[in-house]
Symmetry: C2
Subunit: 247 residues, 2 copies
């Protein structure tokens, strides 16, 4: 059915963009990097950073390029991963544009650069977007919801949570990442047991950090493992109460 001529298929060309969902943990809230649009449509509305894929580059390269432009951090410092493609014909009022969404996780970063291009980038709490306090352009709210669920799931089975922590870090800091992303408290004792028993997840430095208050905490670096075995599952029991973000 493709190519009714039987010779040259009816190749339709599409505009392709990449859009980035860049998560970080600031304070006790999950944040995402958004830009204020400087052009129509959605002039002045917040949107995910992104841009068109250039002829010679892969999608991964385009995502890394956009990430560098927005955060002035090289991709090696962050976890960057393709999410999925979004292709609703009406998702962009200018015409047919499909986008490939990427998920990026990183430690709390320096204030985003705003000088190199006309767009102003800001960190916004994810809760204020999902709660309706901040609108996102296009279908970017849908992409954000998918990215959040994917990130929450990734924390169960992989070691990416450590990418949120500047090295070296304590077990308590890593636990706070889980609590902020998942939205509920974890038992410190059980968490420590699982994390330290997981093979090649946490690599002890032998040093300690002395906080303003409380017992000193052992410091760790990221290990070589990419998967967390056994996984740390979000069980039904975990959701009981103790929401980090009530209301």
């Amino acid at each position: 059915m493709i190519g009714t001529t039987g010779h040259d298929p009816e190749v339709s060309l599409l505009a392709v963009t990449v859009d980035l969902v860049i998560f970080t943990v600031r304070g006790d809230e999950l944040h995402i990097l958004v830009i204020e649009r400087g052009n129509a449509p959605f002039l002045g509305v917040m949107a995910l950073p992104g841009g068109y894929v250039r002829p010679g580059e892969t999608l991964d390269e385009a995502a890394e390029r956009e990430l560098r432009e927005e955060t002035s951090l090289d991709g090696s410092a962050l976890h960057l991963e393709q999410l999925r493609a979004y292709s609703e014909p009406e998702r962009d009022p200018r015409g047919r544009v499909i986008t490939v969404a990427y998920l990026a996780l990183g430690p709390d970063m320096p204030p985003p650069v705003a000088g190199t291009d006309a767009r102003e980038a800001v960190w916004v709490p994810v809760a204020s977007i999902l709660g309706g306090g901040t609108e996102l352009a296009f279908d970017h709210a849908t992409i954000l919801r998918d990215a959040l669920e994917h990130a929450r799931s990734q924390l169960e089975h992989t070691t990416v949570a450590a990418r949120f922590c500047p090295e070296p870090f304590t077990v308590g800091e890593l636990r706070r990442i889980y609590e902020v992303v998942w939205g509920f408290k974890l038992d410190p004792s059980n968490f420590r047991r699982k994390m330290t028993r997981a093979e090649a997840f946490l690599e002890p430095t032998g040093e300690q950090r002395f906080p303003d208050v409380g017992r000193p905490a052992a410091l760790y670096r990221r290990g070589s493992a990419r998967f967390l075995v056994p996984p740390l599952l979000r069980t039904a029991a975990s959701h009981d109460d103790a929401r980090v973000h009530p209301g």
Copy 2:
């Protein structure tokens, strides 16, 4: 950095295709549907079914259309899910073509249609491709590997395995799906316990099936649940061997 004119961004248009990894279980082997290419490049080489995305349709619609054309089954009978995009500039020798891969799971289907278009579709054991016995065009072998790993992971956490079974089906048939896709034996007792206890996974019909040999088995239909809680994990212990009972 996008749009050096500051007004009209340098929009590059790309050819976009969808490619389908259609899995089914035939006998005791996992099979995939492939077509023999009728045009250059890779003339005569096996490839994943797929085709160009048309201007008005979403990627999902394009994937469903290709699926219908190749299997003469509507999408409602199969599980169809987007995998990810592949975008290496050199993946297609004709020029820049990015593809979005889809994963389809379904019961053993009627012989694929070969008359409507010039392409001949055949079921091939996955093992013969991964083992090197059958070559695939483009980067389709990579896509297949990714799809297989994704399918294996999906069986752990979701109820998609039941999509391989024509209704009604027995617990033993469902267990064989897991064994074939994962490649090792499962304990019948434990498997039954987990599956029947999972909420809304298996819906008893009250009927029985009388096999050629052995005790009659209770028949079930797919329940409404989409996720399998608690998950059925591929633990290290499960990989022991292909034997049910050691010794």
